[in-house]
């Protein structure tokens, strides 16, 4: 799982560690900035009876900003800046995205058609596409998982799960 040390001869192409480091550091820096902005609004001083609501968030944000700047500093000026390490190879990234993109579609599906129906589709799709299982087996398993969760949550534990904006299961009275 650790980044592979590249010996120099063959450099597999992909997103470099450097780029990833910079992206994450900038993401953190932005978050820190946002938090700091809101803490100033809330009041970030130490008044008579202790810290105000924004006191801790302010210093937390300060630490986030300083340490992400530190990370950036190491990327640009640190010892290992000359090395070219690969964060993720294109082939690996493709595999990761082949899970991530359907998962995103799945969550969007939950929003629209609810957890139960979306889960059947997602499990079936995953098994057929990545597992090369036959269609009927995959759909059957998807339906089985969905029915099991339905029984467990909706009927047994009485926890209503999300049915989506266009509740396709409304006909069974849930």
């Amino acid at each position: 799982m650790e980044d592979k040390q590249v010996s120099g001869e063959v450099v597999p192409s992909g997103i470099s560690v450097r780029a990833a480091e910079i992206a994450v550091a900038i993401f953190l820096l932005t978050l820190g900035g946002l938090v700091m902005y809101d803490s100033v609004r809330l009041g970030f001083r130490w008044v008579g009876d202790g810290p105000q609501a924004g006191y801790f968030p302010f210093y937390i944000a300060l630490f986030i900003c300083v340490s992400s700047l530190g990370v950036l500093g190491q990327v640009f000026f640190g010892k290992g800046r000359g090395e070219h390490k690969v964060f993720v190879e294109w082939a690996q990234l493709k595999l990761v995205l082949s899970v991530l993109i359907p998962a995103t579609v799945y969550v969007f599906g939950i929003q629209m058609i609810g957890i139960y129906v979306a889960s059947v589709a997602y499990i079936a799709f995953f098994m057929v596409w990545l597992g090369k299982y036959p269609w009927f087996k995959s759909v059957l398993l998807g339906i089985a998982v969905s029915i099991a969760t339905f029984m467990m949550f909706e009927i047994w534990f009485k926890v209503p799960l999300f049915k989506g904006a266009f509740n396709p299961l409304s006909f069974i009275g849930y």
Binding site: D49, K158, P160, A165, F166, N167, G173, Y174
Partner: protein, 337 residues
């Protein structure tokens, strides 16, 4: 959810027309066609949560409703999360919410946009009392003795503990300060149980816990009840401690603190539901109130058992809202626009 949710978002006018038919239904008695969500705008274990789960238990045990009643905690943002959900579920007959004072205090203190007028009032179940408690090892026997000591010690020397910030406990604290000309340091905690314990451990000097939150410590002799913030004494005359019943606790008024405060424990539902639906739930809660379990709970918690519905209830809520606005304005708790 389903149809009503779409309706509220105004996505599909066609479905909306269909939805209206479904909601108004036949004129004869309406009944839930699926399980009813019972929203609790507070965390698990608190007063509202206990009451809601008791209602659920009673409904299930006595078979008062064909469909299930399912409590769901939505405590985010001092309960705003629960209220916003009910507000958004306009016309949904399968959703009810139990309220506490945060119905008024949360929108005023945080500026989150909702108001009880966004909801349909169903019924007031009871009013919850507040009692001024001190540690029994302290020498104060009456509210006057205590407040004199507070005054003598100077501002901020005495600590009042309470649940949450800018909510009922702190409002009462400010009202006491105003009535008696004293100043407490108010320490907010997450729940009423924690407050009572802190008082037993003497980390604070007094609290305004609800009876049910402090009764165990009172019975054990660790706490002393000074006065109740209702306009009359609590009606329960059975001895709770070895010497006292709830009825023996004087009102703060008769003890010289000219103020009263009770907290609403009532039921609301989304706006835009038909009168049949409201009538069904009123009937349901009438049946709940008739059960021995409910009566026992009321007595254990020394509740004020006022029951109201319809216009009387709405008027009470409107009055309570303006009272809270005044109290919060004076205390400087209103959110800055």
């Amino acid at each position: 959810m389903g149809i009503q949710r779409v309706l509220s978002r105004g996505l599909l006018p066609l479905v909306a027309a269909f939805g209206l038919v479904a909601v108004s239904g036949p004129a004869a008695a309406w009944e839930p066609t699926k399980s009813v969500e019972f929203i609790i705008p507070a965390g698990t274990g608190g007063g509202a949560d206990q009451m809601a789960r008791l209602v659920q238990g009673i409904v299930a045990k006595h078979n008062l409703m064909k469909q299930a009643l399912i409590p769901v905690n939505k405590s985010g943002g001092a309960g705003a999360e629960g209220f916003l959900e009910v507000k958004a579920a306009k016309g949904d007959p399968h959703k009810i919410i139990i309220t506490l004072s945060n119905l008024f205090t949360t929108p005023m203190a945080t500026g989150v946009p909702f108001n009880w007028k966004d909801l349909t009032p169903v019924a007031m179940l009871s009013l919850d009392n507040f009692v001024l408690w001190v540690n029994s090892e302290d020498p104060y026997k009456t509210p006057k003795e205590y407040l004199d000591a507070v005054k003598k010690a100077g501002p901020n020397a005495f600590k009042m503990g309470g649940t949450g910030s800018k909510q009922e406990d702190q409002i009462i604290t400010v009202a006491i300060e105003k009535a008696a000309g004293v100043k407490f340091t108010y320490i907010p905690f997450k729940g009423g149980g924690a407050v009572a314990t802190q008082l037993v451990g003497k980390h604070i000097n007094s609290s305004v816990n609800n009876p049910i939150e402090a009764v165990a410590q009172w019975r054990a002799g660790s706490l002393r009840a000074l006065c109740v913030f209702d306009d009359q004494r609590m009606p329960y005359k059975d001895k709770v401690t070895t010497t006292q019943s709830w009825n023996d606790i004087p009102t703060c008024k008769e003890a010289g603190i000219p103020m009263e405060y009770v907290m609403l424990r009532g039921i609301f539902m989304p706006a835009g539901v038909s009168p049949d639906v409201v009538a069904f739930y009123i009937d349901l809660f009438n049946k709940v109130r008739a059960t021995p379990e409910w009566k026992k709970f009321m007595e254990d918690g020394a509740f004020n058992q006022t029951f109201m519905t319809g216009k009387g209830y709405a008027d009470w809520v409107a009055k309570a809202e303006s009272l809270h606005r005044d109290l919060m304005k004076e205390a400087g708790f209103l959110a800055k626009p």
